[in-house]
């Protein structure tokens, strides 16, 4: 069983079309809605955790593509800019999945993007604005 967190973007042409229900029925995916938002007349956004075999997840991603749904892996969403980061550690206080963690030897703050669920709390916690990325909200 694999697990993948994705941000799905439904452009306005397809935002009211039923698509998600099929991934459970046709692709045997166990999904969990982590967050969802509708921006009226623009687009719909949903963060899903997909659970299934590697093949089932891949088939699901292909299916999204044929339906015109943009699927972004959450691990590619959040970025920590090491030129800005001062390694204070404030972000590690709120990261529940330990994607942001401290190397105890050097006390430097490291980021493991694979673990990230793009909750965005680190962006609130960072005092120097070193963390950026799209969460559920549309880019300004």
């Amino acid at each position: 069983m694999e697990s993948l967190n994705v941000l799905l973007i439904f452009r306005k042409e397809i935002m009211y079309k039923p698509i998600i229900y099929r991934i459970a029925r046709d692709f045997n995916i166990e999904f969990n809605v982590l967050e969802a938002k509708i921006f009226p007349k623009q687009e719909g956004r949903i963060i899903l955790e997909l659970k299934g075999t590697k093949a089932e997840i891949q088939d699901t991603l292909n299916y999204f593509e044929t339906e015109g749904v943009e699927a972004r892996k959450l691990s590619d969403q959040i970025r920590k800019d090491d030129n800005i980061c001062v390694h204070c550690g404030a972000c590690t206080a709120v990261c529940r999945v330990d994607a942001l963690y401290i190397d105890r030897e050097t006390m430097r703050v490291l980021f493991d993007s694979e673990k990230c669920v793009a909750c965005g709390l680190c962006m609130k916690a960072c005092p120097v604005n070193a963390i950026s990325g799209a969460v559920i909200d549309m880019e300004a």
């Binding site: 204070c88 550690g89 206080a93 709120v94 005092p127």
Partner: protein, 390 residues
């Protein structure tokens, strides 16, 4: 007053520095030397121990003089990038404080506010050499007729830019926890409900005033590393409280001594001075400070040889006690425990996070070591700041 003897004089240490013979180590290296050779030998061997700290330090700001305008203005109100600077000082002098927020900032209107830009950011932008908008208003006088002035300028256009922080480098500090059922947004970071996490904010064994617990070598006249430039200690800081409880080693077990520091902003670097936005709280300034500690006697070798295992930090409830002004300490931990990533409270294992950057503190202590090895002498404090009995 605490009595101490100078067994190795400032003159002796400085002449060694000048001839390149001084032995300089960081406060992270000193414990190993003391452990290996003992306090007596360490005192003989080591001349200077360098310290460092980097973190959010409220009570920071800068005096700016923007030069006389033509025609002249006697400013009564000044804004820099829409952040108000206090200008009731003189015609074209003002003080930009780190925690002053931008005009029309929504503040905590929608809690928690983001506080994206404030005085701390103005200071960072100036040091970065960025263009800043300065706006001044006045009522006009016979000698200063101008009533309104606006100009885009950089730090190079300012006549003077002096960082002057009334309270920095806290000697020890609290660690914070939240016992309530709601997440709280504090200057000690985001604290999750029901003691889900704890934060702390000190460089611990590297922290300047923890290495000179009675301030024998730190006072007005002490030359320091401030924001990447040479600065100096101006006075004791505001809220300086040397009478805080001390442990058997003489080390304070909570926030105690502070210093006020001063330096030329034009020589500083954004590597060591940064504006800070603290969600739900406000803006501030991150300051990098390094202080050389001359090892004038055996006791100083002992103090600088202490480690995070020896320094205690009080755990305070920022959900209930702190906001109400109740001085209640849940219990003490060592910085070594804090730095391990977890503390135990009752039967709860609580993750800990720092707010003060240890990597930056270490970098500063190494930089200061470089300076001294290249001839930067140790300043002689001209006054004893208030201290406690040893």
């Amino acid at each position: 007053m605490s009595n101490f003897e100078i067994k190795k004089s400032y003159e002796e240490i400085n002449s060694k520095i000048k001839s390149g013979k001084a032995v300089v180590v960081t406060a992270a290296e000193m414990p190993e030397i003391v452990k290996k050779s003992g306090v007596k030998e360490a005192f003989k061997k080591v001349d200077v121990v360098t310290t460092g700290t980097f973190g959010v330090m409220c009570s920071s700001g800068a005096f700016l003089n923007f030069g006389h305008t033509k025609p002249k203005i006697r400013a009564t109100k000044v804004w820099l990038n829409d952040v108000e600077a206090y200008s009731g000082i003189a015609a074209v002098d003002c003080y930009i404080g780190a925690t002053q927020v931008r005009r029309n900032d929504p503040l905590n209107g929608v809690h928690p506010g983001a506080f994206r830009y404030g005085g701390g950011h103005v200071i960072e932008d100036l040091i970065a050499g960025k263009t800043i908008n300065l706006r001044a208003e006045s009522y006009g006088t016979d000698c200063y007729p101008l009533k309104y002035f606006s100009k885009n300028l950089t730090i190079h256009d300012l006549r003077d830019a002096t960082l002057f922080n009334p309270r920095n480098a806290y000697q020890n500090y609290n660690s914070a926890i939240n016992t309530t059922k709601k997440v709280i947004y504090t200057y000690m970071g985001i604290l999750r409900p029901e003691m889900a996490n704890a934060t702390y904010s000190s460089a611990g064994q590297l922290s300047p005033l923890l290495n000179d617990p009675y301030y024998w070598t730190i006072g007005p006249g002490t030359k320091i590393f401030l924001g990447g430039a040479v600065g100096s200690v101006a006075w004791n800081g505001t809220q300086h409280s040397p009478d805080t409880e001390r442990d058997e080693n003489g080390i304070v077990t909570g926030g105690a001594g502070t210093i006020s520091v001063i330096g030329n902003m034009k020589d500083m670097s954004t590597k060591y001075i940064r504006g800070a936005s603290i969600t739900g709280y406000g803006t501030s300034l991150m300051v990098g400070i390094g202080i050389p500690i001359p090892i004038i006697n055996e006791e100083m070798a002992f103090f600088t040889g202490l480690t995070d295992h020896d320094i205690k930090v009080p755990l305070i409830d920022y959900g209930a006690d702190y906001p109400e002004g109740r001085d209640n300490i849940l219990r003490h931990y060592t910085y070594a425990e804090m730095k391990s990533g977890y503390i135990s409270y009752g039967n709860k294992k609580i993750p800990t996070s720092p707010l003060s950057s240890y990597p930056k503190a270490l970098e500063i202590s190494l930089k200061l070591k470089d300076w001294i090895e290249s001839g930067f002498t140790v300043g002689v404090p001209q006054l004893q700041i208030p201290t406690a009995k040893r």
